[in-house]
Amino acid sequence: MSTTTVPVTAALALGDDALVLSHRLGEWAGHAPVLEEEVALANIALDLLGQARVLLSMVGDEDELAFLREERAFRNLQLVEQPNGDFARTIVRQLYFSLHQHLLWTELAAGDGPFAPLAAKAVKETAYHVDHATQWTLRLGDGTEESARRMREALDALWKYTGEMFLPVEGLDVDGAALEQRWLAELTAILERAGLSLPEGPRSGAWTAGAGRQGLHTEPFGRMLAEMQHLHRSHPGASW
């Protein structure tokens, strides 16, 4: 690590993804449909926060980066900033993202780049996240009529944010196209088992869908940051 320079763009992109999704999952605390999910969602949020802290610390001070950057400086995917919605919306966001993250960490863990040490640990965490999202996709997709309808709505609504996950990121040494093929194959298999199908329509394109990596975000994100950063910004220079 000391001999390689940190790929700043990539570390920020991956760190912001984990930070922002962790925050969204933290919003579930005290609101989950069953107690076991209070535990599970917090558990995933904690794993992601841990990943975010390692990644942001590679670039600078984790708290400065999390609490003092403005919306336009964040590099996370638009997918992870999407509001929780109902439980189906949260599960679909987890399914789309965790599948991608698991493939990515697996590839990075196999290499010897600067992210390999973190990836070795994160790949185990995301395997659990994928399993959690898969199990719930099966239960909700192949549950009741209502749960299946909510899953279809969620799959469709978030579909346009999925293309961004495979765009090249400077400093991230992965084959995006190959990753995308594996992601599509795994996702298709899970959805089939759940009695659901792959949504149709574009997976990116319109500038609002898929520009998070350039610092262009969706409207709910600014409000999320306002809440997240308010206290830290109210006490400049204080330590906590």
Binding site: H23, G30, S147, E227, W240
Partner: protein, 347 residues
């Protein structure tokens, strides 16, 4: 020592054996005979304890999205997660007495069972998270450590695990307040304000004074409880006063002073009117807390229904597969049984 009305000689013998076991500090286990009143009293206490863990997530979760550093945010999320886990242990322990989590949650939601009155106070600043850790968890630990030796085995064992985690939370809360107390002027003021607001409600967590405590005598006789409310409250004050000094914060009670003769700190009178009002549902957040709990439950109903429907489908599919396999096996067995006859016929 225990009020039971055994109707038969066998019942009398069981009751005597129960009382002897409790008196000898033996553990009562789920399959053991126990007086109905003992069972009911335990269900009431364990359910209230479990509910407190679940409702208690709310005041702290209120600050997860605003935690001022990533380290503090991780600590707070882990703590709220632990509380959900404690709720799960306690509901499981209560289920060994013949009730169910669903039944207990229903009673919480419609107000037939209570949770700790402390969680009806609002968390207004970040420092409240520290004050809850130090004072509220501190009071809870003082109350709960003796429960690790409670006469009912499953409860005692749940408490061993819970107390370990609670002690950790308490130290983290204390450390959070220390950082604020030693921080900027504004942070110090925030810490002091939080302690001012949480001190008295924390003392009320030990329940009414001994002469007004409805369940105490029986709970102590049954060794569910080991010490009286006032004893535990005194123990907590004796621990908290020097800790406040170490924190560089004051406690909002001018009457606190060391009493050489008693070997304890004297302290001022508790506002019991406030305590009973909060208990009756008229505290600052009673309505908000129960409304959020009910809403989470109601909004999650379709998720639980889906999970149940999916599980039923899986069970049906497994049963069908099993039937098919059986039918196939029978067919083969039938064919095999017929085969020798053919052989015989041929011979």
């Amino acid at each position: 020592m225990v009020a039971v009305t055994p109707e038969t000689g066998q019942d009398r013998a069981l009751a005597a054996a129960f009382e002897a076991a409790v008196a000898a500090d033996e553990r009562v286990e789920p399959r053991d005979w126990m007086p109905e009143e003992y069972r009911a009293s335990l269900v009431r206490q364990m359910a209230q304890h479990a509910h407190s863990e679940i409702i208690g997530m709310q005041p702290e979760a209120n600050w997860i999205t605003r935690a001022p550093s990533l380290r503090r945010k991780a600590i707070l999320m882990a703590k709220v997660q632990d509380e959900a886990g404690h709720g799960l242990y306690l509901y499981s322990a209560a289920e060994t007495l013949g009730t169910s989590r669903d039944e207990l949650l229903d009673k919480l939601h419609d107000g037939r069972q209570k949770y700790s009155s402390i969680f009806n106070y609002p968390t207004l600043t970040w420092a409240d998270v520290g004050a809850i850790g130090w004072l509220v968890d501190g009071a809870a630990i003082t109350n709960q450590v003796p429960l690790c030796r409670c006469s009912y085995g499953p409860y005692a064992r749940a408490m061993v695990r819970i107390c370990k985690e609670e002690s950790f939370h308490q130290r983290q809360g204390y450390e959070l307040l220390l950082a604020l107390s030693q921080g900027t002027e504004a942070q110090h003021a925030m810490a002091q304000d939080a302690v001012d607001r949480w001190w008295w409600p924390s003392l009320m967590m030990f329940g009414p004074p001994d002469d007004e405590s409805a369940h105490s005598a029986k709970s102590m006789a049954w060794r569910i409880k080991r010490h009286s409310n006032d004893e535990l409250r005194q123990r907590f004050v004796d621990i908290a006063v020097p800790q406040a000094e170490a924190l560089g914060l004051t406690l909002p009670d001018p009457d606190i002073r060391w009493n050489e003769e008693r070997g304890h700190y004297d302290f001022g009178a508790i506002d019991w009117t406030e305590f009973w009002e909060v208990l009756k549902g008229n505290g600052p957040c009673n309505e908000q807390r129960i409304t959020q709990r009910r809403r989470a439950h109601e909004e999650g109903a379709w998720v639980r229904e889906a999970a149940a429907a999916h599980a039923a489908k899986q069970t049906r599919a497994a049963a069908q597969a099993h039937e098919q396999a059986e039918a196939q096996a029978q067919e083969q067995a039938g064919a095999a049984a017929q085969a020798p006859q053919h052989e015989e016929a041929r011979v």
